[in-house]
Symmetry: C2
Subunit: 205 residues, 2 copies
């Protein structure tokens, strides 16, 4: 039995975690049971380590949350700060951010899931929620711009439209499976179709 292995990230046995590989296991547990309901004892069990070993990688349970949330927020902010989100026709910008949000959500699902379930119980959670609300505000501004130029249906409040749309996108974390039959791209396309023209078969309108 060899006692030294170079790479740690892909290992599933007992030893050799680095910060990222440990975080993967930890965040999965947070999402299954909820952050508050997940004790260090449970984490240690799933990691195959003792509780105290965890503290070699993270200063506290909340720091695990902080690092994980950053992974989600950085990716989402990148979508909304991209040139495609700030220049060009408003309808194209909306398409870009919706598609980008779906893709980030699928590709970093565990981290985004954690973000979407925050309650703001600590300063770290509150700061993450602040960043999330800033993203929401950019989305809302796009919908209001669409209303102003006449491309959003006039009989719907743009704020309601934004909330329903983003709520739909965010709900994807509840059921999407990365190893399932549908690709993130297909899913993004379905979202755009539904948002653009609804669910009805045109011939049955």
């Amino acid at each position: 039995m060899t006692t030294t292995e170079p790479a740690a990230a892909a290992r599933r046995g007992r030893p050799g975690y680095d910060r990222d590989s440990m975080l993967e296991v930890v965040v999965e547990a947070f999402n299954e049971r909820g952050y508050d309901a997940t004790s260090l004892g449970v984490l240690a069990e799933r990691l195959g380590l003792s509780k105290s070993a965890i503290y070699h990688h993270f200063a506290s349970k909340e720091q695990m949350l902080e690092v994980a949330l950053a992974q989600a927020l950085d990716a989402l902010e990148a979508v909304f700060d991209a040139p495609e989100a700030t220049t060009g026709p408003v309808v194209s910008r909306i398409r870009h951010v919706l598609r980008g949000a779906v893709l980030v959500l699928c590709e970093r699902k565990p981290y985004v899931t954690l973000l979407l379930r925050l309650r703001g119980n600590t300063p770290i959670e509150q700061e993450a929620m602040r960043r999330r609300r800033a993203i929401d505000a950019k989305m809302r501004a796009l919908f209001e711009a669409s209303r102003d130029e006449g491309t959003l249906r006039a009989d719907m409040d743009p704020r309601i439209a934004e909330r329903l749309t983003f709520g739909m996108v965010n709900s994807i974390v509840e059921w999407y499976r990365p190893d399932g039959p549908i690709s993130p791209e297909e899913l993004a396309e379905s979202v755009l179709q539904l948002v653009r023209t609804g669910l009805r078969e045109p011939s049955s309108l």
Copy 2:
């Protein structure tokens, strides 16, 4: 039984809670901080009581959750078991359950919110999730029937359509305010509009 006291429900002073009026305060706290993160100490503080007084009304913290979840599930199941949900044109049934779900969600928001955030950590939570999944299955069956009769757009998987639609509806608990400017009926109408024909102004298609 009941009714030696007309109602303790409206009281906001120190004493005189009955089960329902206590549950209102409790569920509000659960939703603000999360069920697991809400200690009996916090509940006692918000109720203006000692921790032990709570046990006069509920046998355990989890029993509070159980009673609250029943309020949400009973109302939702009533919508899906109503005659309007089981007879008549499929499109009408879908309109009924979507509208009904939005109304229940607005009118019993705290209880539905609790339901939607469950993680299944205990048998009681698991049973509630089972009932919730049964409701989902009825919704899915309606969408599949719509696909089969040609009223759901042919280029979208009915299961994805169902999940996106229900996800949108459920996300309403995250932002709806009963004392806000929009009525549950208006909100239900917006949902139906978005789902039927999308967000775009027809003239800009």
